[in-house]
């Protein structure tokens, strides 16, 4: 049987390959995950990535993968029909000079979880960067969501660290959530393997 090809860093020049729209091509993977016409609660995710010294990471790319407003994934392993063919559930945003990123999307619905359980609404998040040798994988959950208390994945995270996975509502900016990612150090974001 063939053996896995190892992971390597994206390096500092990731934009050439991962944001080809900046280099004269059509951008096929961008930071707008949901068209304005798509059914659901439209939201904006804003955040910033910092390293172990608290400095912004301007050479990272964030990728998100999420269900639609009914908790359905646009993938054959889900199999449930989606309300809209335009929804693919995937977004990609390189960080700016100040380490920030943003996505325009919809709030996902609850997706099926382990056994007969239902997962709290969440967005799967991948981080690739210079100095990161394999993708970091985390999840974004929503604040004030009663379903968080029963989520099988959140339950695996030590209570003191769960806050790193809960986005924050932005006062004065309805529908906007803040999700900062600390790759290392104090209040380090929880990262998963599956």
């Amino acid at each position: 049987m063939p053996e896995r090809t190892p992971s390597q860093t994206v390096g500092p020049y990731l934009h050439i390959g991962l944001t080809q729209g900046r280099y004269g091509r059509t951008e096929i993977v961008g930071s707008t995950v949901a068209d304005p016409a798509l059914a659901g609660t439209h939201i904006r995710i804003e955040g910033r990535i910092v390293d172990g010294e608290g400095n912004a990471m301007p050479d990272a790319v964030v990728e998100i993968w999420q269900a639609d407003s009914e908790g359905r994934y646009a993938h054959p392993a889900d199999g449930r029909p989606l309300a809209s063919n335009s929804f693919r559930g995937f977004g990609r945003c390189p960080t700016s000079e100040d380490g920030t990123f943003a996505f325009d999307t919809i709030k996902p619905g609850p997706a099926p979880g382990p056994g007969d359980s239902t997962q709290a609404p969440h967005i799967n998040v991948g981080i690739l960067a210079r100095g990161v040798l394999k993708r970091l994988f985390t999840r974004l959950y929503f604040p004030g969501e009663p379903a968080n208390a029963a989520d099988a994945i959140l339950a695996l995270v030590p209570a003191a660290r769960r806050d790193t996975l809960i986005a924050r509502a932005q006062p004065g900016k309805p529908g906007t959530y803040r999700f900062d990612i600390r790759v290392q150090g104090g209040n380090e974001t929880v990262f998963f393997e599956a």
């Binding site: 053996e3 390597q8 280099y23 096929i28 990728e63 799967n124 290392q184 393997e193 599956a194």
Partner: protein
């Protein structure tokens, strides 16, 4: 019951903290990763296909006023999973520097010439048998500031999706016999020498096009599904 993905290949990957690669010292998590069961969220993933890319986007030597300088090459291979099955209809994105070792990127200040006829970005979608194929220029080696007299061996960056969120892979493809291998902390961040060899393409006379371009073959192996579906309660 859901189809889960194996973790048998994890040992191939580098650790997050690989101190000789300086940037990893402040960009690697200190807390242990939390192991979670594979749910529908992980075993699904983005689907991009043939309608998303144009055939000429796999040829990095065209689309400019003139032809790029350097050694024209063909890079082709198959995308497979750990069970040896083809990964069909899957997006592959690549990027690289030019023949002189310079990226067309604002951050790259290496005093080697920019080639106005080379951007270094390509993409394609694997066919039904998992095959992909690019035409490009052999990238040059270039210096970086990781340590004194640090040089990267020639490489092409590759980004792959496979069938799920868990099969996502970004890697680098190296060329056979590069004298810089022993000195490169990124190549050597992969602890197992046999796994490092799996990042090196092979010269392929059959892939070589007479009077036109040298051919290199590089097969890429992604995570595969477990032999039998596991009950997610016990995944």
């Amino acid at each position: 019951m859901i189809d889960t993905y194996s973790r048998t290949g994890d040992a191939a990957d580098p650790p997050y903290l690989s101190p000789d690669y300086q940037s990893t010292r402040i960009r690697s998590p200190r807390q242990p990763l939390i192991v979670i069961p594979q749910t529908l969220s992980e075993i699904t993933g983005p689907v991009y296909g043939h309608s998303d890319v144009k055939p000429d986007e796999a040829d990095l030597t065209i689309g400019h006023v003139g032809e790029p300088l350097g050694e024209r090459i063909i890079v082709k291979g198959r995308v497979l999973d750990e069970r040896g099955r083809a990964v069909p209809n899957s997006l592959v994105e690549i990027w690289q520097c030019n023949a002189a070792g310079r990226y067309i990127h604002a951050v790259d200040q290496h005093p080697a010439p920019i080639d106005p006829n080379f951007t270094g970005a390509g993409r394609c979608v694997t066919d039904a048998d998992g095959n992909y194929r690019f035409t490009t220029i052999k990238p040059g080696a270039y210096p970086w500031r990781n340590h004194v007299n640090a040089w990267r061996p020639a490489h092409i960056h590759l980004s792959l999706f496979g069938p799920s969120f868990l099969t996502r892979l970004v890697t680098q493809m190296y060329f056979p016999g590069d004298p810089l291998f022993p000195f490169d902390p990124i190549f050597n961040s992969v602890p197992d020498p046999k796994a490092r060899e799996r990042m090196i393409c092979r010269f392929d006379l059959e892939a070589t096009k007479p009077e036109w371009a040298l051919g290199y073959t590089f097969d890429i192996v992604l995570r595969g599904r477990n032999a039998t579906p596991m009950d997610p309660d016990h995944a």
